[in-house]
Amino acid sequence: MDALGNLLLGFSVALAPVNLFWCFVGVVLGTVVGVLPGLGPAATIAMLLPLTLKMDHTTAIITLAGIFYGARYGGSTTSILLNMPGESSSVATCLDGYQMARNGRAGAALGISAIASFIAGTVGVLGLMLISPPLARFALRFAPPEYFALMVLGLAMVVFLAGDSMVKALLALFVGLWLATIGTDLFTAESRFTFGQAKLLGGVDFIAATVGIFAVGEVLMNLQSRSGGEIIKLPRGLKNLLPTLQDLKDCRFAFVNGSLIGFFVGALPGAGATVASFLSYGLEKAVSRHPEKFGTGVIEGVAAPEGANNADAGGALVPLLTLGIPGGNTTAILLGGLILWGYKPGPLLIQEHPELFWGLVASMYVGNVLLLVLNLPLVPLFAQILRLPNYVLHPFIIGISVVGVYSVNNSLFDVWMMALFGLLGYLMRKLDFPAAALILGLVLGDVLERALRQSLMMSQGDLAIFVNRPISATLLAIAVVLLCLPALRWIRAWRADAVEREG
């Protein structure tokens, strides 16, 4: 009852016309910065922070949080249409989203991503509202060994990202892991693989690498085909542009999977939405009845990661609001904002400023509805972009890629890196290496290495630290089971074969 009373208080705050207006402004802005690669929610919020000083504080956080979760909605659009992730958290969406678009189902992919975002976003807010304090306490039990186990679990998913050849998938994965080591080593402050380049001290920019491999690589690949004027087939009529009932049914599990994984991983300060989206994609594929179809354009492969990165937004606010601990860049800016507005973010924030917390929670329910209403009608509109012939579309993709990658760090160096990765992406396609495995290595490599070294420093080099702790032992056990699944399948196939021969 207490929560209900508080929520009513929250809605009375969130539905005040001024808050409703700014919530709308926030989510629209968020969608816009999410759509384009480059300028992300963190930079946008930082730029707008001074303006919020003149606002009521609750209104201010409602606006800025709107940008934060709105960007997660927008991120999928270019992933699906152009194979160009708008945010790093929508990289996993490219895998099946872009293939769906190529199969003429761009509308369904965009639609399902809006719906999955809405469902998971709402579940994320529900979780934030109901279980924040106990979840924050649970998340504190995650130390380096647990993170290591979680990353191993993520890498085990590579088994499911593998195409025809496991060897090629592993090779791509190791190149990704290697790329993740470039830059200044956190522990020794020494530089690794920088070739004397000061610009590589910060490591390989993730957006430059993914846009290069996915978007630029795809364009280069298409240049080979002589049919310059060929366009992707796009069905006419609004009905064909939205997901069907069957699609929604197929995604039942993906909604749950994305919501839960996104929310829980989001609440961990050291993981983030990109990790969450890959984990839920991997899980979706692992439990699927037709895992072999993933990567060719299955709708669950879009719903799961898109759900995860939206539920993550709710999860990421858990440590921020209950403990005053930011998990990533964007929440760090929100923390800075709270201090600037005169709050003391920490364990007592919700207790002392219930109107802030409950107003924000209620506004996020409203914001998610606004985003769904805003995004669904845009689906047919965005899908029209695919009607452009290749000789218009491809320069357009390259143009957006260059501008987007440049604007992340205002660095021309990153643009050259993107070009280099574009070439790599082309070669990988040509030689049939799974690009997703490389990206997975790049995403997880950093945290994996860090967590491993941190754990071993804590245990004085004793590997038992990974199995003596219940959470890490459990996660590692699941990873082992995942790794054994394909082997089981081979054995079963071999036995069936043997039985057939005997019979």
């Binding site: 919020i45 380049q197 050291g270 930011p326 964007t330 201090i339 600037l340 364990p347 205002n410």
Partner: protein
């Protein structure tokens, strides 16, 4: 966003014309947006500091142009410093530095630009640090912790940033002074350092009082010593490390502003004038109090002396800490 950025300068120029000019403004006055370089991403310490200063300078109408914060992160401060070095002589670019701008070039081959190559203008604050443990831990004083570390060498853990960070350098100095030994676990973000302390996975952390403040108030953390010369106003009952009989050099964590190399004299004078006026405002005083910084305004020769001394001290400390000093 855009329309505002057009309105701002127009409004502020109008207001600024009505106000008395800062000392040297006859010779130089920014005529366009000022590019403000920081070495952390959005939300990092330096980023938030620069944005707060920019905001306050505008609020106090001390500058007539917008300061646009540009994040040049990577390799600690190396990318930002290299970028500023390329802007040699540019009159509309400034940067915000911290102590790591002094230490990083000492140990990193690629970091060829040093603080001396740039044009430091001011030191604004010193950030105090405290030693915090979990509230339910058995350590009530630094002595308790040191004794425990001596009894179980290399069994206790401290969370912190890189090995070049103040956290680790303080650990090295403390270990040297007391003979105790414990591990230092690097985490990239402050959030992870703190959550590992709160989760009981590490036993100790060197933390800024502002960051620990709410955790102390909520009863999650206990401060067992301040790493300051005098006790902190916000923690009057916590003795300094020296009061507890451990004599270690204290490493100041400075934040301030600088210009690219070869900054024209009149530009230097302009910014000195701006900050001379700024540090006298109540807005500044309130900001310093709120963040529990030490107000430590310095400029000119005194600033250069401080930075030189800091570099020499850091070189010694780094050598003791076992880092490869190359400059």
């Amino acid at each position: 966003m855009r329309p505002i950025s057009y309105l701002f300068p127009v409004a502020l120029v109008g207001i600024a014309m009505l106000l008395p000019h800062p000392a040297a403004s006859q010779e130089f006055k920014p005529s366009k947006q000022i590019e403000t370089v920081v070495h952390t991403g959005p939300g990092g310490g330096s980023d938030l500091f620069a944005r707060a200063i920019a905001e306050m300078l505008q609020k106090e109408k001390l500058i007539s142009q917008r300061m646009q914060v540009v994040n040049k992160s990577g390799g600690g401060p190396a990318v930002a410093m290299a970028y500023l070095a390329e802007k040699k002589g540019d009159t509309h670019t400034v940067g915000f530095y911290t102590g790591v701008w002094v230490t990083n070039p000492l140990t990193t081959v690629e970091a060829t630009v040093t603080l001396k190559d740039l044009t430091p203008i001011t030191r604004l604050v010193l950030e105090p640090a405290v030693i915090a443990v979990k509230a339910d831990s058995p350590y009530k004083t630094v002595k308790d912790f040191i004794e425990a570390a001596k009894k179980n060498p290399k069994q206790l853990n401290q969370s912190g940033g890189t090995i070049l960070s103040r956290d680790n350098l303080m650990r090295m100095l403390l270990q040297k002074a007391t003979g105790a030994q414990w591990n230092f676990i690097s985490f990239p973000s402050g959030g992870e350092r703190l959550s590992n302390l709160l989760g009981g996975h590490v036993q100790m952390m060197v933390i800024e009082p502002q960051e620990a403040g709410e955790q102390i108030r909520a009863g999650n953390l206990r401060v067992i010593a301040t790493l300051t010369e005098k006790r902190l106003a916000s923690l009057p009952n916590v003795p300094t490390i020296k009061e507890q009989g451990i004599d270690v050099p204290l490493i100041p964590q400075a934040r301030g502003m600088l210009l690219p190399p070869a900054a024209p004299k009149e530009v230097v004078a302009y910014w000195e004038g701006v900050f001379d006026a700024f540090v006298k405002t109540p807005t500044w005083k309130q900001y310093v109090d709120q963040n529990q910084f030490e107000d430590a305004y310095l400029k000119g020769a005194a600033l250069n002396k401080f930075l030189d001394a800091l570099k020499d001290q850091m070189r010694e400390v780094l050598k003791e800490a076992g880092a490869k000093v190359i400059r």
